[in-house]
């Protein structure tokens, strides 16, 4: 048997899992696993032709079970997502090696379980990305869900609770997909992709609606699409540091991958566009777009309320997912490219941000935004990384987040969707406000007494963070690099492809060249710097040399405006989204609770013979009459 390139990759990934399982307890295990991730990434680059030219590479692995063919293959779409997966796995794992690992063990963590869970997540994600038919897609889907559960639950305590909540949501999503799968099968008689594409043409509108709801809802749960987003932030945030960097970067993008594969590639945006909501002017696609926009706004503003850095970032992760979906649902050349580019960009800055926060936790022991401040003087490099990260997250030049958001906005305007555009801009506003809270409360202001002797993060953590920062900047400068892969992805899923250059995109309605933008920006910085330094009027003061309310503060009074940040804003708008959809979750839970009580009563208070008698009566009466 000749191994295809895909076989090699999956085999490599499996070996990584085995290594983590067997020697995960050893001292060098972390480095070993990291190197193996690097190996996987190399194996992936051997398939780079997929990313640049398209095409597919099949795995020689294939089964026939119960009359169903199961096969796996990679195309541009899989390759693109696999690249992000492996990249974030490599860097997160690298980050976890050495200093962080020792600290984790010291605090009673099980490092073997951590490495195994990470390797398992990567392995299952690759299997999901490689799915060649709907059945293998579902298998991969469930595997990813349960692997994610393992990684989320392993911290114990609050994390387990969050993971339990996650798995209930994930099961609900999985079952929705399962039901959709069954409906597709009954319509097409096969779960092979080609058969499904032909079957979709003949399917009735009602059934297609049902399918879109089942698949969209099922996959949407994993993405944290409203109103199924409640699980995500606590589950990601409570995962051990590098794990949350990895999950935040890629995990919920698996939902987007599945949506791209099923809703966009198999069903086709056109078909979804034809599904009208009865008695209204909107259709299923508009519905998805509005859901995406709501997913941008609500979680972003919820993030603003968070007092824990990790939770704040995790809530943003949900919100940013909305941009990706929005871009893809708009489905013109710029929108699709913007959505997909945002997947890549988000992975880079989200991982960098989680790592920076983890580095802060490593040094100070807390991620509570009310208990930090002024760390810029002690951890300047981490500050730089966080700054680069939040610029990316907020979507400002010169970082990569700007490009993808610009593309999405542009496409919204081009397609004449001003309301959606407005809503998306409101979301960005919230992002900027809350990331300012993040960097201010951690790094700005005055240093707290207990943090006076904090040192910069160790190099084992710093290097992956710096690498990520470099990627954020470089792809911001030259978005043409990822756009080249994205062009093949768009082609694969059947969306229009934009005209891209190294510095951005070209179109009749407006082009973007980041090299120019950044050049101008830096020129502006340069002029500013020239003025600043040539004037020579600045003086360096100590952090504590400060005054407030017209009074100089003595050195023993530390002053940090961090508690109840944005109090005024919250007073104005906080009431609008209090608890967001918690009431929905609560009411479902208490309804099940209530029904469950009733059912138990049914069994306990049973007059069994009466049940028998009445059943016999009704059943016979019903059947006979």
């Amino acid at each position: 048997m000749i191994l295809t390139l895909l076989d090699e990759l999956l085999l490599f990934s499996g070996v990584t899992l085995l290594v983590a399982l067997t020697i995960g307890r050893g001292l060098a295990a972390g480095w070993m696993v990291t190197i193996l991730y690097g190996g996987q990434l190399l194996a992936l680059t051997k398939m780079a032709a997929l990313g640049y030219e398209g095409g597919t590479i099949a795995s020689s692995l294939s089964f026939e079970v119960m009359g169903q063919m199961l096969n796996w293959r990679f195309d541009a779409l899989s390759w693109f997502f696999a690249l992000i997966t492996l990249g974030s796995a490599l860097l997160s794992s690298w980050f976890s090696c050495g200093a962080w690992e020792r600290d984790y063990i010291k605090q009673g963590g099980n490092i073997w379980l951590f490495h195994t869970a990470m390797a398992l997540n990567v392995f299952t994600m690759l299997i999901l990305l490689a799915s060649g038919d709907l059945l293998s897609l579902f298998i991969g889907w469930e595997l990813v869900s349960w692997a994610g559960f393992l990684l989320m639950a392993l911290a114990g305590g609050v994390a387990t609770k969050a993971a339990m909540r996650y798995i209930t949501y994930a099961m609900a999503g999985g079952m929705a997909v399962f039901g959709g799968l069954a409906l597709v099968y009954s319509a097409s008689g096969s779960l092979q992709l080609e058969a499904v594409i032909t079957a979709v043409e003949q399917i009735s509108t009602t059934k297609l609606w049902l399918l879109v709801i089942l698949f969209g809802g099922g996959f949407g749960i994993k993405m944290g699409l409203l109103p199924f987003h409640l699980w995500q932030a606590p589950a990601y945030a409570e995962t051990p540091g590098p794990g949350s960097a990895f999950l935040g970067a890629i995990s919920s993008r698996m939902g987007l991958f599945a949506i791209l594969l099923v809703l966009v590639k198999l069903f086709g945006i056109v078909n979804i566009d034809n599904l009208k909501v009865p008695f209204t002017l909107i259709d299923a696609r508009d519905l998805l777009a509005w859901l995406a926009v709501l997913t941008i706004i609500l979680p972003t503003f919820t993030a603003m309320k968070q007092n824990d850095a990790r939770h704040l970032l995790a809530w943003h992760g949900i919100g940013q997912g909305g941009y990706m979906l929005l871009g893809i649902v708009v489905a013109d050349a710029m929108g699709g490219a913007g959505g997909l580019l945002h997947v890549f960009n988000h992975a880079t800055y989200q991982a960098a941000l989680f790592m920076a926060v983890t580095a802060v936790i490593y040094r100070t022991g807390t991620s509570d935004l009310n208990k930090l401040g002024g760390l810029v003087v002690r951890m300047p490099l981490s500050f730089m990384v966080l700054l680069i990260g939040i610029i990316g997250l907020a979507g400002l030049p010169p970082m990569n987040g700007f490009v993808s958001k610009w593309l999405v906005y542009r496409s919204l305007l081009n397609q004449g969707m001003p309301l959606l555009f407005l809503a998306a801009v409101i979301g960005t506003l919230g992002t900027i406000l809350s990331v300012y809270k993040l960097i201010h409360n951690i790094f700005l202001g005055q240093l707290r007494v207990e943090h006076e002797h904090v040192a910069e993060a160790p190099w084992s953590m710093m290097i992956p963070m710096l690498i990520l920062s470099a990627i954020i900047f470089i792809t911001g400068l030259m978005p043409g690099i990822p756009l080249e892969w994205i062009a093949s992805v768009l082609q694969t899923v059947g969306l229009p492809v934009p005209q891209y250059t190294l510095g951005g995109v070209e179109s009749n309605s407006g082009s973007l060249d980041m090299i120019w933008v950044i050049g101008v920006l830096f020129a502006g910085f340069g002029i500013g710097a020239v003025i600043f330094y040539s004037a020579g009027r600045s003086k360096r003061v100590h952090q504590l040399d400060n005054y407030a309310g017209g009074h100089f503060l003595s050195a023993d009074v530390r002053y940090q405006y961090s508690d109840n940040f944005y109090a005024g804003l919250m007073h104005l708008i906080g009431g609008w989204y209090r608890g967001s959809f918690l009431w929905l979750e609560r009411s479902i839970t208490s309804m099940i609770e209530f029904l469950s009580l009733g059912m138990q009563g049914l069994y306990r208070r049973a007059n069994a013979e009466f049940y028998l008698l009445s059943t016999a009566l009704f059943v016979i009466a019903w059947a006979v009459i």
Partner: protein, 488 residues
């Protein structure tokens, strides 16, 4: 030697009769005679299997050709379940040695003989007799724990089961009045002409409600939580794992061979849906593992009833797959529950004390909720693809209920798993944490290994199940094999 298959019923009965006497003379012989008989039974059945003949055969007891005499109908399905009966009888054998052990073992042998008879018999009234034998043996074993609660639970079960038997007997009387025969193959021949009316339907429904008591059919399953909470875990495992499936099997055979009315299927569907809803919801709040398993078993049986309700035998494969899967899972879970009885909250920290047990629990739970590479997924997959293909909305409701129930199931099973992996409360001493060990753990491991083996070899397992299902659906094959009224 296919004729020796009768011995799988006769020898356990013989052993049961003689055990109390043997026990008086030689304890050693008595202790080993039961397991020896069961091992012989396993071997006999495995031997037939290994001969590789897939054609069903019919054995006329007493040499009287059916329909005059009673026959055993042996196809792959019957063999499979007969084998499972003997094997599980061996696995759940009451090894404890006390003053009642002769009686207990004797009852166990009777239960095994009756269950084997249920799997093999091809005569309606004979099935009823074996059903009653299994019931009486169950009553004895259920009350053997000696607690007052067990006595009350058993009596309630007995009365319910007795009323069920009356209805079953009434149904049999109706069928005999109408057709004048009791042989299943003969009935299958006559049914399209004679039983395809209200009378036949009433007969089926009477029998269904009667036998449904054992098959945990909603709502005649109220005995389930009581009995499983008071009887020994091994008996609960046998009842939930196997006996319920045998009752199900009888209903399946009756449905396929004799009663083709769509109303019959609809009743099964509605009761199945209600069973799923009530069982899974009740399990959601259960505070004790065995009770939770009892309710979950009601839910699972409900799923099988839904599968059975599919028209034209479309659900046979799903029923088989679900039944065998549930047999393995529930037996394993009950074995784990043997040491993990009591409030679920008490189990905190158990995973540290018994890592294997906790891992097995997670494995079984994953398969039960249908995690893909595990067999449970394939069983559920066969069911939902069939359900989704039906045009009648009731089936789609069944599909939706089934999927929602799975979510609830995952939620409560993994709540337990999370408790297992929690740290023990600080004031608890190590020896206070329940951990599973010894025979029950070994047994559970056995089931776990079986599950994994099935997952690895899912393709051949699926194929052979499919072959069995096709054979079961073949009514003409059944009739021609038994050949009632052919050469008398």
């Amino acid at each position: 030697m296919n004729a020796y298959l009768v011995l799988t019923i006769a020898l356990p009965l013989l052993g049961a009769f003689l055990l109390p006497i043997l026990m008086r003379s030689s304890i050693a012989i008595a202790l080993w005679s039961g397991p020896a008989i069961l091992i012989y039974g396993c071997w006999t059945i495995a031997d037939i299997w290994l001969q590789g003949s897939t054609q069903p055969i019919s054995i006329a007891i007493g040499g009287f050709a059916p329909p005059l005499g009673i026959n055993l109908y042996i196809d792959s399905l019957a063999l499979l379940f007969a084998f499972a009966v003997q094997l599980l009888g061996l696995i759940f054998w009451p090894f404890t040695l006390d003053q009642d052990s002769a009686r207990r073992q004797s009852l166990m042998l009777l239960l095994v003989a009756a269950s084997t008879g249920l799997a093999l018999s091809g005569d309606l009234f004979n099935l009823y007799v074996f059903y009653e034998l299994a019931a009486v043996a169950t009553f004895g074993l259920a009350s053997a724990s000696g607690s007052s609660a067990a006595y009350v639970a058993t009596l309630r079960y007995l009365i319910l089961s007795g009323i069920g038997s009356v209805l079953t007997l009434f149904g049999i009387a109706l069928i005999y009045s109408k057709t004048g025969t009791l042989n299943l193959a003969h009935l299958a021949q006559l049914a399209p002409a004679q039983l395809n009316d209200e009378l036949g339907l009433t007969a089926f429904l009477s029998i269904l409600i009667g036998i449904g008591v054992k098959a945990e059919l909603f709502p005649v399953n109220t005995w389930v939580p009581e009995i499983y909470a008071t009887a020994s875990t091994r008996l609960s495992a046998f009842l939930a794992g196997l006996l319920s499936k045998l009752a199900l099997l009888i209903i399946l055979r009756l449905l396929l061979l004799i009663f083709h009315q769509p109303e019959a299927a609809q009743v099964l569907l509605i009761l199945g849906i209600l069973g799923v809803v009530s069982g899974e919801l009740a399990a959601w709040r259960a505070k004790e593992l065995r009770r939770m398993l009892a309710f979950s078993s009601i839910g699972q049986l409900g799923v099988m009833f839904i599968a059975m309700a599919l028209p034209d035998g479309a659900g046979v494969l799903a029923v088989l797959a679900l039944a065998i899967h549930h047999l393995i899972i529930k037996s394993g879970l009950f074995m784990l529950a043997e040491d993990w009885g009591g409030a679920i909250q008490r189990l905190r920290g158990s995973a540290k004390m018994a890592p294997l047990g906790a891992a097995l629990f997670v494995l079984f739970s994953l398969s039960l909720v249908g995690m893909p590479p595990l067999p449970g997924f394939w069983a559920k997959f066969t069911l939902i693809t069939e359900l989704a293909g039906q045009s009648e909305p009731l089936y789609l409701i069944g599909l939706a209920v089934f999927l929602l129930a799975t979510v609830i199931e995952a939620s409560y099973l993994f709540r337990v798993a999370a408790i297992l992996y929690q740290d023990a409360p600080r004031e608890t001493l190590d020896h206070e944490i329940p951990k599973n060990e010894g025979l029950s753990l070994v047994t559970a491991t056995l089931f776990g290994a079986g599950l994994i083996a099935a997952a690895v070899m899912i393709a051949p397992v699926g194929d052979s199940l499919n072959t069995i299902a096709v054979q079961v659906q073949d009514i003409d094959l059944y009739i021609s094999t038994v050949n009632p009224g052919g050469s008398q």
